[in-house]
Subunit: 457 residues, 2 copies
Amino acid sequence: MTTPREYAREHRTRFVEELKTFLRIPSISTLSEHAADVRRAAEWLAEHMRLVGIQHVELVETGGHPIVYGEWLGAGPEAPTVVVYGHYDVQPVDPLDEWKTPPFEPTIIGENIYARGATDDKGQLFIHLKAAEAYLKTSGRLPVNIKYIFEGEEEVGSVHLDTFIAENRERLAASSAIISDTHILGPDTPSIVYGLRGLAYIEVTVQGPRNDLHSGLYGGAVDNPALVLARMLAQLHDEHGRVTIPGFYDAVRPLTPEERENLARVPYGEEELKAETGVPAAWGEAEYSIVERIGARPTLDVNGMWAGFTGEGAKTIIPARASAKISMRLVPDQDPDDIAQRAVAYLQDLAPPTVTFSAKTLHGGKPALIPLDSVPMQAAAAAFETVWGKRPIFTREGGSIPVVATFMDVLGAPPVMLGFGLGDDNLHAPNEKFYLPNFYRGIETVVEYLRLLAEMS
Amino acid sequence: MTTPREYAREHRTRFVEELKTFLRIPSISTLSEHAADVRRAAEWLAEHMRLVGIQHVELVETGGHPIVYGEWLGAGPEAPTVVVYGHYDVQPVDPLDEWKTPPFEPTIIGENIYARGATDDKGQLFIHLKAAEAYLKTSGRLPVNIKYIFEGEEEVGSVHLDTFIAENRERLAASSAIISDTHILGPDTPSIVYGLRGLAYIEVTVQGPRNDLHSGLYGGAVDNPALVLARMLAQLHDEHGRVTIPGFYDAVRPLTPEERENLARVPYGEEELKAETGVPAAWGEAEYSIVERIGARPTLDVNGMWAGFTGEGAKTIIPARASAKISMRLVPDQDPDDIAQRAVAYLQDLAPPTVTFSAKTLHGGKPALIPLDSVPMQAAAAAFETVWGKRPIFTREGGSIPVVATFMDVLGAPPVMLGFGLGDDNLHAPNEKFYLPNFYRGIETVVEYLRLLAEMS
């Protein structure tokens, strides 16, 4: 009889074609003009889950983009029950002119498939459907019970997910969870993320004059809102790269010596960072390694900034206002609401009397750390070792997956982050891609994980 | 027989309708997609000059937008010859959503006509055609010889005008010049600008990573180009509002006690500035008055600034690059090229090793001061007094009209700035307008000026 891993290998070409169809739907959740596309992606996904053999598939309305839910509970009450989480929404694509291939026309070049959402998160989500198919189309059953939650609002802060989970706590009851939305250290260096940063995101505006002013007729007597904003932003870090918001670091749990030792094993430093990103030099807190700065330290970034005339040529105005989108990555035990409030209060203090300041909070998510000694975590390590031939490294990642904290807090199901992306996959950037060998091995790793989890539980 | 002033009064309604037609043409010189509109405005203008009775009208090709030239030389060799300068190009209109009426559908509300270019400079240019018409359709002759130069590139730095003037020095020979592109202090407070600031305009970019990066996966280890730019811009002024570029003030000619006394008569201070612009407070060099800061001191402004994601919602990236448009208003004897070079060199010095810095110069113009004791200046004062019933105040204005320096240097013809705008006309901003009583009185003032200039010469 064909084993699930054999099945997965035999159907690779078709799996990639199906993924392409999924990737063609521009499900950009943050742009209201793409709301219909997001729904179309949800409907396609639900239909595909039914085809694979997943049961009770439904679109759950949320007030925003729908959640796609489905389950397979045929493994019996003694078997473990796993929640699998993924998201079918994607980031915007601008700057569009920097894409080498159209973002919603998936294109295979070498061993990579290029498209928005290829890795984050349609490709990784799809791994779970294909692993389920490999079982259901061979043995006709899964080794464990699975409840699938695929949301369409991850890129806008999972605004309705916590409510859905809280309201369906019993239906979603599980002993563990899987999230595939992270990356491994290299094509031949498997790793498992056990720590994720949280997020606080604000947008601030300083307004000077009512309208744009002629810079000749007023320049020198009117404070320039773009320069005011620049002066304020310039004060958000000290010369050592530390964030200056009062109390920003108060709740930060210090790294243990064991953690620092573990993270020091990650083969990633300034040279790798420079090669991967093209920056002329690294930056940040000198007393922490690059891996620690990214995964284990809170940070503040400006994600967007705008004022005045940004078109071609010269326009001689004093802009009426200037704005910035500012996000902070958080680590345990920082609280997103608390940090957003502190940031806004500090910026309000920094605003001079020549402008009026306003701010809004866009979204937030809690940071998380997963215990390493649990059965699911050990099963995951064993699954990677089986497929990759190498024990994975445990690492902390800088991104934010707010649902991790929700799974731990509300369901009590510690999530395992089975991620299959790579560091150079250009998530959230032009030319996002997924390394196809990781797609194939990802499916086999999930197949092995489900078996090992059943055996070890 | 009808006098020219009577003629001008009788035909006001038609003059406004003709101006509306001129204002409807969106001749935005800085946007390449409007190049055909700029040419259309030039052709309309040339045709209208012919209708008025101006002779030898032609479109002079420049390599950019055309110059419209025309002349009337029937006053004889003994009479003064005046160059009249204006521009038929206009500023861009964004932010479009802040206009209360469509920028290219001229709309009269109360005593104002609203449209892009209403004051700057189509409306003021049109005053000269109507003054000429008032003479030519009544007495059949002008009191002086006039050479009209109307350019289409004033808002992009008059890039081809200097060459045109230098190459046509003999043809353009004149004893004086008129420029109507400034404003008076109030509807009942006529004034003549004798000083104008120059301009140096640069655009700078700092580039960090090759592409936008996921702020979670790299934040904390990569310097953020938006923050880098903010830190650099924040250093361009000290805490007293002085520009910190080394050598920036070296060539500034100090204000004389007489000039300071004269400028102190201008009825404009912090309260007027706040009412006019809506700023919560004034700003700038405390040891200079508002009028001095605007008219007699060099300044630096950010005219535009952009980085990363500026759309709706949240996108969690570290932008690959950040840019700013920076302009400096100059006073005698600062040189635009020298100042642009100093600014670029200083910003290059401020750029940290975590980014690469690049800059380009967009355009420049020399500052100018016009002697008060010349016949044209005294004739202008007398013309204002005749029409307005009040002696005008001599003042310095903050804007830049590069051609002023060219007229002085190349033609040796001291220009008189007969301006008819108002401080609240929203030049370069949404809801640009022209106060129609100033349009009417402007025509009569030019009628009187030409007569007085002939008599006093």
